[in-house]
Amino acid sequence: MSAVLKEQAVGVPVLDGWFTLDEQRPHLLGTRCTACGTYYFPKLKGFCRNPDCNGESFEEVPLSRTGKLWSFTSAAYQPPEPYVQVDKEAFVPFAIAAVELAKEKMIVLGQVVAGTGVESLRAGLEMELVLEPLADGKLTWKWKVAA
């Protein structure tokens, strides 16, 4: 990854339209079935997956940006591509969180912010959504222990 390419990636989301780019209070972007109210992340188009619902119309909605830690783990080894690769020695293990959103009644995965290891996590912790760059400079959502 050249420095130039990385420069160009600053502020660019790793996945288009998956989250807002509001630096202070970002939100994941999902959809919601207008018939039965079920939320979808990533966004669902087409047909509602609730077997009792024939909904085919969805509205884009921001998901709750805080939730409770359901479980967590770490990536001790560098994930394979398409995860952006860095030198083996430069790889810094990171934590991963599964966070339960109360309003949406769903669990969403994501990395935990750099600097927070599994040793400082426990189920039930209040977590909030932030944005941080991956090694290619592109922004992804991450979970952070709420202040």
């Binding site: 479980s71 783990t73 770490s74 001790a76 398409p82 995860y83 599994v118």
Partner: protein, 395 residues
């Protein structure tokens, strides 16, 4: 009702698991010939070949049923090939059962075989933001992530420890020591496991199963046919559950990055639903089970399965383990074959290998790993995309 749905297991065969680097057809034919020999049925008499497909190996890998029918010698049998990730073998078995119970055939060969690539599985190259499997790797979520999240949840909810997880590995390694079809036949102690590198906290390398080459084959028939060929006492398949999840699915499953939302309908456990349907179909309960073969993709997952199989209350599986209940010699051995810990996963063969083990156990042919007085065995597994299975075999 349930007795009418029984079919007989006339023969089983396997090709030893390993990393042999040969063509999957070769493994499968070996397993099939062993199963045929074990059953005493002639290949020409097989009326239906039910293959479990693998997604690897390009084209030929897709066509397990027909590929083996050709390799054994085209003889005009009906054929089907099932794909259901880790549950492919059970679906192939279910397809054979339906063919038999419907009266369309009397005796069938069920077969699964795989050659796995070296190293960790990873997604196809390319830029595919619509593919959940691509997305999760893009943001750093690998296969062990999911197993580790379930494992950590046990620690947080039930107080399981890393030492408990290690004990699952130690137990299964002990079971597999004498299994000629197992890939790994080596005893381990707690220090060995603790010394293996952390992969996805709290799971170490030795908590996670490998991928292997291997093949398993089963000859099944109607109960009438079994009687006719002098095998009236052959073990019976009493249930095969291959239900899909019910929305809203409660657990985040590979390769997804979120669960279903349960705002409109309540969340449901998929894993628990699989054996529930099997018990119902067999007309028996967890109290009747003598032994279980469950999908220990991770050590901790074996504990989840024990609870999903209702062999103890939710959260009590580690207690059973600590008390020695789940080891051979205990009241309710789990993974007497050595499980995935000793085999490594050969996807389309694995669910069939579980049934092979139950067959040997119920016949009393399991040698040093024999479960005394085994009468009823149950299997459980789960794969990608809402696939899973649970099979009940009885003596």
């Amino acid at each position: 009702m349930s007795t009418n749905k029984d079919i007989a297991i006339l023969g089983v065969g396997m090709h030893p698991w390993g990393k042999w680097g040969r063509n999957f057809v070769e493994y499968g034919v070996k397993a099939a010939r062993d199963a045929l020999a074990d059953s005493g049925v002639n290949w020409r008499d097989i009326q239906f070949v039910s293959g479990a497909a693998t997604i690897r190996n390009g084209y030929p890998g897709q066509v397990a049923g027909a590929t083996f029918a050709q390799a054994l010698g085209w003889q005009g049998a009906q054929v089907n090939t099932s794909y259901a990730a880790c549950a492919s073998g059970s679906q192939a078995l279910a397809a054979a059962r339906s063919k038999i119970l419907s009266g369309e055939c009397e005796v069938a060969l069920v077969i699964g075989s795989d050659t796995t690539p070296k190293g960790f599985l990873k997604p196809q190259p390319g830029d595919r933001p619509d593919d959940p499997d691509w997305v999760r790797f893009r943001i750093g979520i690998t296969n062990p992530t999911y197993f580790a999240l379930y494992a950590r949840r046990r620690i947080e909810m039930y107080g399981d420890t890393l030492e408990d997880f290690a004990q699952v590995k130690i137990k299964n390694a002990q079971h597999g020591l004498s299994n000629p079809n197992a890939r790994y036949r080596k005893a381990f102690n707690a220090a060995d496991v603790a010394a293996s590198p952390m992969v996805a906290d709290p799971l170490r390398l030795m908590d996670i199963c490998a991928t292997s080459d291997g093949a398993a084959a089963i000859i099944v028939s109607s109960v009438d046919y079994a009687r006719k060929v002098g095998k009236a006492k052959a073990p019976r398949i009493a249930a095969i559950s291959t239900v899909t999840p019910t929305f809203a699915s409660a657990l985040v499953e590979m390769p997804d990055i979120a669960t279903d939302s349960a705002v409109a309908v309540p969340a449901q456990s998929f894993r628990a639903a699989l054996p529930r349907k099997a018990y119902e179909e067999a007309g028996i309960g967890p109290e009747d089970v003598s032994l279980a073969e469950v999908y220990d993709l991770s050590t901790a997952l074996e504990l989840d399965w024990i609870e999903d199989l209702q062999l103890c209350a939710r959260g009590d599986a580690a207690k059973l383990l600590r008390e020695g209940v789940t080891r051979v010699g205990g009241r309710l051995p789990v993974n007497p074959s050595g499980g995935l810990a000793c085999f490594g996963e050969a996807v389309p063969a694995q669910a069939l290998a579980q049934v092979c083990e139950l067959t040997w156990q119920l016949r009393g042919q399991a040698g040093e790993r024999q479960v005394a007085g085994a009468k009823v065995g149950i299997t459980a597994n789960q794969g990608l995309f809402g696939h899973g299975s649970s099979v009940i075999v009885k003596a």
